[in-house]
Symmetry: C2
Amino acid sequence: MFEDKNSVGIVSLKYYEIKEKIKFESGVEFGPITVAYETYGKLNENGDNAILVIHALTGDAHAAGYRSENDKKPGWWDTLIGPDKAFDTNKYFVICTNILGGCSGTTGPSSINPETGKPYGITFPVFTIEDTVAVQKKLLDYLCVKSLYSVAGGSMGGMQAIQFVISYPEMVKSAIFIATTSRLSPQAIAFNAVGRNSIISDPSWNNGDYYDKDKKPDRGLSNARMIGHITYLCEEAMYNKFGRRLQDKNHYDFNFDVDFQVESYLQHQGQIFVDRFDANSYLYITKAVDYFDPVDKYGSLTNAFNASNAKFLVISFDSDWLFPSYQSKEIVSSLMHLGKDVSYCEIKSPCGHDAFLLEYDVQSKIIKSFLSDSKGADCE
Amino acid sequence: MFEDKNSVGIVSLKYYEIKEKIKFESGVEFGPITVAYETYGKLNENGDNAILVIHALTGDAHAAGYRSENDKKPGWWDTLIGPDKAFDTNKYFVICTNILGGCSGTTGPSSINPETGKPYGITFPVFTIEDTVAVQKKLLDYLCVKSLYSVAGGSMGGMQAIQFVISYPEMVKSAIFIATTSRLSPQAIAFNAVGRNSIISDPSWNNGDYYDKDKKPDRGLSNARMIGHITYLCEEAMYNKFGRRLQDKNHYDFNFDVDFQVESYLQHQGQIFVDRFDANSYLYITKAVDYFDPVDKYGSLTNAFNASNAKFLVISFDSDWLFPSYQSKEIVSSLMHLGKDVSYCEIKSPCGHDAFLLEYDVQSKIIKSFLSDSKGADCE
């Protein structure tokens, strides 16, 4: 059926409704919440072979496999999830959910508020990373998952993996944090803030109330995405991909159209993004990312991780300047200080933050050895 | 009168009209052009003690001194220009012009097109760094400057200083390039492109025709400036200035107002910028910056600098990631390859690109020694 014989095959999005209200970190009680999720492999009788994989900022629950026989694009972590792959679905029951506040099935600002019959818009409560993992925990309970063989995520997904260990230490046997951080640098906050400002200052944003309007805040959202993409690459990656090459021309145009390939790339990324993502979701999710700071909340990372008995794998990429290696090393230091079983791999890559979605071969090998070997990952 | 006894005192903006049309690099012939400029010190009889100092992206001709007795803010390079200062006005005749296409006196898109009686808007021709120095050369001719004792600039001003040496090698005895580059990286182009996109996608931009409208593209311009400011600082500077500290609060607001100090800083920078700068000027000037590439134009930097007999001082800052030191080193290497007299100083600073406007003490010493000592600058 598919060229990849180790594909999980055709998968479909499932939904679970959390009927009771959840108390968010802000104090707001919110519900019901529909959680969109996919699963691959089978849960064992003890309910202890589950792996929760968590998507990054604008991802979705479709982590592996295909939607149909004609579907050419597999899930976002398909390279790592499947029979005999790093997250081996012959052994593990792999679960991925769309994030709270997202726009790919899980309740978010674009969802209909049952009390008004209209989309929540910015009446949706501002939530935190802690709230997003509380929602995932509810799903795991519903699925009869007793403990997580592992919880894994990259970038913002890694933040949630960190928080899952902190919130539910008794439930997690191992955790994989990839290209992530325990708290954004002020520079990363700045980029998010300018992205949000770009959306909010688009008149079509209309205070978040645009779902039934002709114009959506596509320009603002597109611009936010362009800013994001600059931070996902790095200078070296941009030299490699584009240099100063012109786009479909040999000479400057002497106007304000696109001249350089890098401009064309960013504009394209912005344009395709607005077709798949909701501007309000972008506001909420980036705010949750900015707020994430277990160091501040628990006093220190060692306090935060103290109750965990998990083993840990931390992966960073040397050219990642959005979630730089020193931030991963801070996590590793705290875990080592606590005497936890922790493996750390800094992978050399010219791809910047995007490396976590590109450098699959090396990650696959590391994760496979980490999950199968009680001695930890082979980072050589 | 002023606390600074080495101030040039009260200065006023002067204007010179280039009546004939200038042929721009695009092929367009354009004129008349009014050049706004200031001068400090006196030109000697030989007309060879002049120093042209060139402002950065959004600067103006007011480089030194005060506008009035009550004026509290001196010109942008006042620390370096004045009697006994680095650019010693007892010895030198210092000239600074507002850039072509700017909005502080020199003809730009907000100027009235004498043929229509309306502002040029985007009918203003796209120009290059070469065109900006051609305009400055016309002013120097008018002022009877025969040769430049030095030409100096930081950031985009440095690009123009580079181009001045290339365009008029016979005229330049020394040149000072600070925190600049012979060509932007694709990452720097990307930031400019997103900034322009932010302006152009603001409905109030109205295809550049907003001068008589109630609404100007303030939101787009403000957002562009916010992006710019992220690049002028660096991660270390942001940690030092803001960290993850909240602005006037102890807890998150759980809404989309400003939470962090870094957000507040950027919003403030954006807001004050729109009062002093024209959105169309921002488009034109950043485009000229993107286009600047003497390596491409002349085949190599050695070709470009070959005809010059000037001595050179190149200064970069180790934390500057917008115009990184390696770019200055490329310039230095080319000049050394040509056997030119070149001094290079990489200054340690935690201030990022902004360092060129902050680290005055060390720059003052270096420039003073470079200008006075035929052996070059003391970079120790």
